[in-house]
Symmetry: C2
Subunit: 112 residues, 2 copies
């Protein structure tokens, strides 16, 4: 978005049959606010960011979240923080769509 504005994250969700849908809602040098959108069965493989902390917040649905080798099921409204360097991932093991808001800080460098 060009201009800061109030938004309902679920209005911006994008799904794909092939893989997790990824959306950027806001980005600056300090942070990136985005969405990860999962059809049933889709996931985001375990990965880590060396220098970025990530905040997950479940907007809609239920997902299996992996953090530091532990699996936790999170429902809508719940929050999980993956500090820099800690491997994390998500799998939508439910029968419904899963929308997760992510805040990354500092924001990742744009790909060129």
């Amino acid at each position: 978005m060009d201009h800061p504005t109030a938004l309902n994250p679920r209005d911006y969700a994008v799904f794909s049959d092939e893989k997790m849908g990824k959306v950027t809602l806001f980005r600056s040098d300090h942070l990136l606010v985005g969405l990860n959108c999962f059809e049933p069965g889709q996931g985001h493989a375990l990965h880590a960011h060396a220098d970025m902390d990530k905040v997950y917040q479940v907007v809609e649905g239920t997902g299996l979240f992996l953090l530091e080798g532990e699996e936790t099921t999170l429902d809508a409204g719940m929050v999980l923080v993956a500090p820099a360097g800690v491997p994390h991932g998500i799998r939508n093991t439910s029968d419904s769509r899963l929308i997760v808001m992510t805040v990354l800080a500092p924001g990742p460098t744009p790909k060129r």
Copy 2:
């Protein structure tokens, strides 16, 4: 919290009759995740952070959010970004409690 863990933000809400309740859920050099908790009639006066972006997400209730001279009513689930330097504030004009999750990046320097 000492250890990153899954949480339901509303479980951590703290209210005060005197002023907005303020809670830190997670903090690092990169960001601070917290809660602002408002009884009916309470607010957070218009202010700006020179070097920090702030993401608001309404956890529970309804509030009047001020940003760049505009007033917007936000319900549970909605998100507002206040970029660095942009004045922002909140007022709980409803009859119910209001809980707002905030993500500040980079995190503020701890007060000494």
